[in-house]
């Protein structure tokens, strides 16, 4: 019975090696992703007791996925076996003017065919203090939507803190409704949620606190349970060079991290997930919101220099960067 619960789909990532395009590729590196699994893996590495809830088919590739989660210390007792497919995506890492590319092959996955009443949420949330979910899960299918609602209800009933990442992916919503029709019902369970970044090109222009406060307040007005709105500000100079910062709005004021200059990006996928995971950790382990946003921004900055969707780094490494150690000296 873990303190933090994350629920969503785990995907296998098959990536062309190095700078090679998928159309040139002779082999694919195996990695694993999925927004909520990424969050679980980060939290486990930070030392949190975290459980990942999902549905996977009974085959060797799903076994590899589970072994990956277990290797990081994520509790997998709540993984349900069933269905026929491990969702997957092909990944090609970009450079400068050639953007990275993700080709999904996740339709009909075990997670998208999950059934209501198949998970004992009361058991899952026993002793839990935090629940994390994203808008990707309800997008998968009507039943996945319904199971997400089950989870949210159960979590709320247990008094668990809920964080939700809207994570709107237009191509996913294919089961007959528009996201905007059904998502508000789910979002309203959240204590903490991702906000919609003010429509400003952050490479060219500094975004004022006022704009963030305004955007955050709109969320809070729409979702009265919400106590904290979370933004990440990515400036895309090119596929190889971004700027990056984190911002929180708590209804009273805006907290901002410094802006990191990501000049030689290794892999930007999973940046947002690593921010959310680090924020959950920091809100649970630091005293102030300023520390929380600083930790989350530093952690997710490091993600950009790690291969794969998951942020392989430790609290010590995040704190070193957060503490100002930014010139990349050799550690011996």
């Amino acid at each position: 019975m873990s303190k933090v619960v994350s629920f969503g789909e785990m995907l296998m990532c098959l990536a062309s090696p190095g700078s090679v395009r998928l159309r040139q590729s002779k082999s694919l590196d195996i990695d694993f992703g999925g927004a909520e699994a990424n969050v679980a893996v980060s939290l486990a590495q930070f030392g949190e007791d975290v459980s990942f809830v999902t549905r996977l088919p009974k085959n060797d590739m799903a076994e590899l996925a589970i072994m990956s989660l277990k290797s990081f210390g994520v509790n997998t007792h709540n993984v349900h076996w069933g269905g026929n497919r491990l969702g997957l995506y092909y990944f090609e890492n970009g450079a400068v003017y050639r953007g990275s590319k993700v080709i999904y092959d996740r339709d009909h996955s075990s997670m998208s065919t999950i059934e209501t009443n198949s998970i004992n949420w009361d058991e899952v949330f026993e002793d839990a203090e935090w629940f994390h979910w994203t808008g990707i899960t309800p997008a998968l299918s009507a039943s996945a939507f319904n199971v997400t609602k089950e989870a949210l209800k159960a979590a709320k009933a247990k008094g668990v803190t809920i964080s939700g990442d809207y994570n709107y992916r237009k191509n996913l919503w294919n089961w007959g409704v528009e996201a905007e029709e059904v998502m508000p019902e789910l979002m309203n369970y959240c204590d903490i949620m991702s906000g919609i970044h003010p429509n400003v090109d952050v490479v060219k222009e500094k975004v004022s606190d006022e704009l963030y406060a305004e955007a955050g307040q709109q969320m809070m007005d729409k979702y009265p349970n919400c106590k904290l709105v979370v933004f990440t500000a990515r400036g895309s100079v090119s596929a190889s060079h971004n700027t990056w910062a984190g911002i929180l709005y708590d209804g009273e004021r805006v907290y901002r991290s410094c802006t990191y200059n990501l000049t030689h990006i290794v892999d930007r996928v999973g940046g947002g997930d690593s921010f959310m995971a680090a924020l959950i950790y920091a809100l649970r382990n630091y005293e102030t919101k300023q520390e929380a946003v600083d930790f989350a921004a530093a952690a997710s900055t490091l993600k950009h220099f790690v291969v794969g969707d998951q942020n392989i780094c430790s609290v010590e490494e995040v704190e070193a960067l957060m503490g100002g150690d930014r010139n990349g000296l050799i550690s011996r």
Copy 2:
């Protein structure tokens, strides 16, 4: 407009490298398979003008599949784009007591959702002399069954020679009928077909010509259009060591190749497909049935020492082996 037409599903093969198990794998080698595509690739390498008909989704991975076919010289003008998935399978190569393992992920593929009347078979068979199909395609879905029937009717109408490989795969027949209910209608179009090997362990016992003639005659009695029944005799000493031979029955007599002793197998997948392809080539290019079975057995023997499902070898190499050059000396 090619002389030989092969129709079926092309699959991406993702194989763990060397002797590594899938559960240990960190990367997967990309290859391509599918019984009918394997036949097309072999024929193209032997110099035949061959066209492959299939349906593939419009994405980079299917593009890779097409590029692979084209690299061997297979005509891909009759590939139809559509649907959402390139079917795939994971492959782990066995050794001795650990058998090779194939994990299919081909449900909902573009080929299984092919629709009737989508292919202009008259155009496909213009100038064609030979049509090859297998029992895998009708197993995929009702519509794939119907499109196969369309193809067979059109081929027959044009007077094209038809070869069919029953290739029964129990796990594939999931669309509501038993193979035996619907396959006879399709098999009856065939001039040449694979036979059911006499139920004898060929490692322990030599199978007599009489048994093959009996098995062949049963097929011919059932399918009166059939002029040639084809057998392969695989003796499984272990996953690393098999014996292998080919047999033909033409209603009058039995033709047998020598038996090859495959003592250090590299990869046995695709052995049957390479036999069928080489037989088609040999029936079209040699004078006697004895030569045909000898060529087909030699070609498919070489397949066991080639990585991947497809038989990368030339007519010259097959003829050298067929001609008795069996001690594997270095060619300088």
Copy 3:
């Protein structure tokens, strides 16, 4: 608190790839070994609740070792951090007349500098039913010997079943005593132990039940607590071809598995450990000693066709081989 506890040193294995010699190698594949860790990993894969007790330094390479254990589901809560080195060995896989080669670099490892009273054995053995150790640990240092004795005393006090593998390695005993001076004291705690194989070349000659009974009885006479003596019979035709069987003696009679003919060995390291692990599992999960020895022999046969020291296989796979499925057909 796990049911089975294994205690010993975990080592990093750095292996030259494929058939390449270490002296030719440009990179090394990372794997993990150590007799007792191998046993723990096998048991975890068979579904046992197993805890591994060891001592590791606090660095990234030891972290990788732990991640490997966790990925298989081994409980690592009883890993103690301390000391300065992860022991390691370099591995070159042999072929025919060129034997495999292991170069140890394990002196001064964290495990060899373990200190008495550093492990709370009462806690470790709470709820435990089985304890496994080998003669490698007491060989490492005087303190490692003493900690092993602590463990055995505590296990015995709790009524835990104890299995010990003498595993005599001459080069390891460097701390000032001969193995024979001090090992008997430890061996005497064992309920189950490895026996010394009758001095017979099993390639040339069949070993009689009488010889095994005699060898087993000698052990039982020397160690009166011993209830079961375990033998593996390896016939070395060459580095690439061995024969393999398992034998048990329970004081009354001899139980033998069939003899497996390992004609194309992939990697023989860890064969004995995989036998011991499978035997522990089988004694706990099957009714008869005959089944136990059959399961153990089948499992350890599979190990010879798996890359690395650890036996990546499932109960289902072992049972299939044990049940007679020995010709290595493809599983689709």
Copy 4:
């Protein structure tokens, strides 16, 4: 009979992996290049019906070269077999102050020993609309020079549009004449040709339209058949950072693309070839010269972020960049 014909030598590229120097290399990645083959491959990917004419020896490595061309859809029916060598070069990719390095081993290649009257140019140019060649071919040998002249005469006689890239390589001209003695005769067949960039460091200084017009007009004065002069402007900040733009002069005015800032170059070899190929495509498929130069500059910009000499990209990708999508966002 293809619409576009490219004629020249195809070379195997053996590249050290990643950032490793050739002197450190343990393996070499196989790729293929050669200016005119690069142009053919780009055009085929853009959907043009293109035929490549060359001469190759009959061996497995040349077969690989042909398979590579065919995989992209290049028509290889006009490849002539003969001679003894596939020309090759070794490639080491540079970084910042360490420039990339190409070591040629192409002497005595099959192409350099091509003989006059061996190619039926009338057949090659049947239905052709465009012919592309470069100054590399006549540099190889007297007979290669003469065959190039044969080709140009035949193309001109058929009214085919001719594009030529002077591509002066001092080290290649070893057959007894200076390039300047014999090239003008060949260049004079061209409708479109590469121009000599004004002698200005484009990193430090903007080159005026006047300078390009002047340089272009000089070409046109020298070669009166020329209707379009083509420039690429590369600014070399370092081996890892270049600027890049394309310029056309049509006798009346100068057309310029925007200047791309190539800040993290993956591989710059083949940049000029990809520009020429894209220009040919664009002149045939867009209405205006401005579109043509924009398409060519965008396509060749993408080449700098593709591994290998050949520009693996599609019309859609080029048009997206040309249309202003320059910040390298992820495509999902």
Copy 5:
């Protein structure tokens, strides 16, 4: 009997591939390092007759180390066999905010257990003109300190020029003394030594000649034998972007190289060693100190674009960069 002698520990470097973190790594690339071995390798590539003196265990991995030295032409006749361990370290290459990481596993190495009077220094220095050592060796153990002193005495007695690199590594000095207690005695033998860079952030501020002269003069006052003090000025913008320059002070004036802008670093480890090696070469082969510092700075700049600790480059390449060829054009 070589002209230049370098003495120190050779280490095996086991590096995670590309940008992969050690905690993600499945294999490790084998390379070799150690400050003094790096110097020897550079000098041998520049054509100097150089001998490396060290102590290594008799096993395959140390044999690989020796083979590596020999491949570069370093004389290894003075390698002494003995002890039990080849020291090693694990290496993870950094990017931007994630610094590179070195994990040493060198305790108890053969070099650290070297014994006094085991090396015949008179023989080693016969015909020698230059001796190079660093502060890493005396840090290893009391006996290594004493052997270093033996070497320095013998070198001084033969009139050999001595260069020493203080190379203070806090974590290494574990044998009971502080570096500052014992190093001065050794440093005082040096004719040439590394100086302590003025405490200035060279990214933000230009360091004046006066500051270097002051720092150099302090060294000369403390070590009266010293004739030349050597500085490298590294500005760490990030792990991927540094600035780099070399500075000499000879008691009279300061000589500075230009400052190189290392914008896309491949591997910065060994930068200082490559500077020292190139300086030794240049002081022996050029006429002026200005040329010496220019050569050393150019050579060590190239090191940053070479994989591994050792500077794989030639005199010609260094001179090309030193001569102003800085825009990284392709060499064909």
Copy 6:
């Protein structure tokens, strides 16, 4: 000035990895071969002071070849720089019925264009005791033939023992003479030479001593200087399974090694060279011809289990096999 001198062409070997065919290959492993270089490398590993004489072009790939020789301790001072090409060959390793394949690309190599009077043979043979050459060198060109004759004359004049391997390769003799016209003049310088194996299939039939004596005596009658004729007896069961033995005839009697059963061959190329090298070593270091043939057969047996043309093994390993340690146990 070395004791043993070997003269011939060094070739780069570019091999497809593992069991992959060249036509499937995406990368090539770099190795080095050439009969006489293989002999030099073996001798250096056995501890002989050996010098290799050849001619190589001045480029990075030839530098790699030299680094490889130096890494094994071969003296390369007598390598002459010149010409334009490093000869090379492509290699595909066979299996069972698919023989290994070597595709040469060595025409116009630096060695084939070597000039008479370019090597100071008096200097080369100063202090030399043994000279080894093969019939490959005179096959390359008239000048290579003449330089070989120069070498043989000089060696004979100095009283150096000469061993020659006829090594007839039909495809190489292209410079206008038949081998049999000119080789006898060179062979007549030899003290030791390879003999022509009796025309018997050694898999099926044991060859009698009488047959070897007869074949040897024929050589001695033809070449009266010859004191020892050397045979290797390879029985090709398949590309993966050979038998192997060595035989000497000294004019008086026949000496035979045992016959090795090479059941799982890793790489058979270089088997003959490794035999010759080991024989030279053994004739110089053992007392009896029986020991010599036993050592040579054991050493060349090990070669079949080593990747690459060169026999990476030590005297200790050969002696262990020669001494009867043939069951391939693990060395720990």
